[in-house]
């Protein structure tokens, strides 16, 4: 249902304008990972998720929060600012935004190799994604250092 024509006209117009203003990005180097069944997988979310005691995200935040692979969903809240998605689905089941239980099940079934030790959360709603260059590159380095083969990027 996030076909823009299904949204309120103003919101659809806003999201189209956002798209048009975004810089075109280039893939610098094409990487082919090892087989998924041997890969360590991490989640990178832009839902503004963090642990309850973490500093909340500020408006226009470019930083990130760490979510450990054994985090308890009872300790996870979000401070994303958008009013155009409601939090009821996440309240019902956090996996709908941050599918850590599903990753564990895929690991137990042998479909992925391992669940990463650390996962990452940013706050989205940033008109110019290139402003994440610095912290995004840093998170890439941290994921690689943690032995992550595949990052699953999930918006909200």
């Amino acid at each position: 249902m996030v076909r823009l024509n299904d949204l309120h006209e103003s919101e659809a117009e806003h999201l189209r304008a956002r798209a048009a203003a975004m810089p075109e990005m280039q893939v610098e180097r094409w990487l082919t990972p090892r087989p998924l069944a041997e890969s360590t997988v991490a989640i990178v979310s832009t839902a503004g998720l963090h642990r309850r005691d973490d500093p909340p995200f500020t408006l226009g935040a470019l930083d990130y929060r760490l979510l450990p692979g054994d985090v308890d969903f009872g300790d996870v809240i979000l401070s994303h600012v958008s009013a155009n998605f409601d939090r009821s689905a996440f309240q019902q089941d956090p996996n709908i935004m941050f599918p850590l239980d599903r990753l564990r099940e895929l690991r137990d079934a042998g479909e992925i190799g391992e669940v990463a030790n650390w996962h990452y959360s940013f706050m989205g709603a940033m008109p110019d994604p290139s402003r994440f260059d610095e912290t995004g590159t840093e998170v890439g380095r941290l994921l690689a250092a943690d032995g992550v083969d595949v990052a699953l990027l999930i918006p909200v």
Binding site: V2, V27, G74, L78, Q92, D93, P99, R102, L152
Partner: protein, 254 residues
Amino acid sequence: MATTSISLVREQTERLRPPRALWVPFALGRPLGSSADPEFQKDVMRTAFGLLDTATEPTIADYPIEAPDEAGPGVWACPLNLAPAEATSLGDRLLGEVARLRPWAIETRRERGRTLFGASGAGPDDIDEVARAMAHIAESGDVYTSPPSEVAWRHPMPLLIRHLADDLRSVYHEGLAGQPGPGAPNHDALNDWIFGGTALGEVFLRVADHLSEADDGMARLVRGLLIPEGHYHGGRAFPETKEFGADSEKEDER
């Protein structure tokens, strides 16, 4: 390290051209499509992971299955009568509503073992404190001074208003989830309910008026973040994209 991604707004993904993206026909806030349907969620993930084997250049694939339906406007109705018998002020009416929803919200928390309430800085039991703070802002019209409270708020004004609203909506969502009744309401049904007759919606709209009257870029931006698109009489929620970016930079400097 390779990436594969979920895409909700296809137009933005087309612009950014990530290596591998799976566009999904789901609502904002529901990137895996369905709550409490693990097999559906895993099928979405497997399809996104499958692009690691098949894509040899930047690729956007379309997920072919619609999300299971939630109850939309006209299908879902709140089973509680929230109108208090005697209330003299908007703030009293809000506190009355919250009092009626609280037992159900607590039941939901007990069942789930968690709550999303607390983004403002309030503790899980500070429901009335948050309601009183929001009512104070609505009735005083002051969108710049943190409302008096024992709570150590975690955001400056006026941005705090956005997170107070989220905490109150969390209580209302939890209150609904604890009650017997038809399937979970979707985004539109929830907003129609909140802005179509609850004291909470009335409080939000009054605060939005104060934010609009403040004649300040940040206050106007918070107004856009407070009321979902289509539910405010005073025009579109968001300023132009350029203006949004400028406001974000200002916030960074604070």
